[in-house]
Symmetry: C2
Subunit: 243 residues, 2 copies
């Protein structure tokens, strides 16, 4: 970790504060400003995870997502609003960096793995000395909780967003020994159909809120309903193929 | 982390000791026995990473891999030798667990992600209270070092072992936006051909010894030779597709 770093992208891991790395904790200690994403009116999950290292001398900079739930993810209006939000967020951080203050941007899981942080990284990292501190991903947290040997040897591991269309999802599932399906939420019924269709349903494990309080896991075939919270995912361990 | 845990599978992360988690450090502090894989005559990479937490009161239990380099990975002789080795290693740990001693098995990266640990997990976890502590994977360490936004939104991420045959590798590469190719070592010339063939060579990043001393990264097209150490990998960030 370079002493010249002004901007840290800090992975806080998936939920359990003890799954933060020593490097992440040191970055927070060195920072004057702690920025984090949150929904307006909420504390923010990453803020909660890092709570014990955000001492009262820090300047806290919450970055509130715009309310875009009614907009289509691919619409021009959504893209314009979300890009505007990231521009403003980057500018609010830039002001601190230009004043010589060290800033940590908290990122749940790993900053560069499906994280909002990368939108700020693209806007700021070429202007200021930046270090990205990797974090434990949600998927690592989940397969560790479930004790599931996810991949070994020549296994191909595919990480698939559950929001994908049914046909595309099926085509990808057929080609992988090991599978992680993220963003399960509203998509569980569809995912269940595709897993059955590709012969992977029996091996699938459902994990809910892995490494957070109230985390639990079960064989997907033992789950009776198709209700799943945002923080849930499906694992298909590849290694059982060998044993 | 349950207080009843007797066996810990401890992810030490990819190389930098500061990339160990707080939970991993606590597990080592609570353990009387620290087991780790190593080549005979060498200290072992994981042992080195965790060095400062292996105090002199710990019982160290090195597990030396058998010398199988001249055997084919798929041969019956290799499989028999390696299974015999894991059986013996599990037994040497079982003796401590039966005596009521808490054991940590160190695992480079993440224990259940292409790690040797899972061979011991399969043999011991059903007999003793076991907790797996996830670790930062080598691939996370590498994309963080390179500042490469590996995956976003609906990107599919595929993790491919470079030891795969050329045709199979090409088929998988065509179907992924984001790619990590591990176990590059002797396979770089082949990997380069397949990346070129599937239109991904321009975006590919080569990372050598990410998060270890002497770590470096460059565009693969800027790398003049096909020499690569065991601890090297290739990243093809998916997100650039969008930007």
């Amino acid at each position: 970790m370079s002493d010249k770093t002004l901007l840290y992208g800090v992975g806080t891991g998936p939920g359990d504060p003890e799954l933060m790395t020593i490097k992440a904790v040191k970055a927070l200690e060195r920072s004057q400003v702690i920025a984090f994403f949150a929904k307006r009116g909420a504390v923010g999950n990453t803020r909660k995870i890092a709570d014990q290292w955000i001492t009262s001398d820090k300047i806290e900079l919450p970055l509130y997502y715009p309310l875009t739930t009614e907009l289509d993810y691919h619409s021009a209006e959504y893209i314009e609003q979300i890009n505007g939000f990231f521009d403003e967020a980057a500018q609010s951080i830039r002001v601190h960096l230009q004043a010589g203050r060290t800033v940590s941007i908290l990122s749940i899981g790993d900053p560069l793995f499906y994280g909002s942080y990368m939108h700020l990284h693209e806007r700021l990292a070429h202007e200021f000395p930046t270090s990205v501190i990797p974090g434990i991903t949600a998927m690592s947290g989940c397969w560790s909780l479930a004790g599931a040997s996810i991949a070994q040897g020549e296994d191909v591991l595919c990480v698939l967003p559950g929001i994908m269309g049914e046909e595309r999802l099926a085509a990808r599932l057929e080609k992988a020994e090991s599978v992680v399906i993220m963003k399960v939420g509203q998509n569980l019924a569809k995912i269940r159909r595709v897993l059955a269709h590709t012969g992977k349903l029996e091996r699938a494990i459902y994990v809910e809120r892995g490494t957070m309080e109230g985390g639990r896991h079960m064989k997907l075939v033992d789950k009776q309903d198709d209700e799943a919270p945002y923080f849930s995912l499906i694992l298909v361990p590849g290694w059982s193929v060998r044993s």
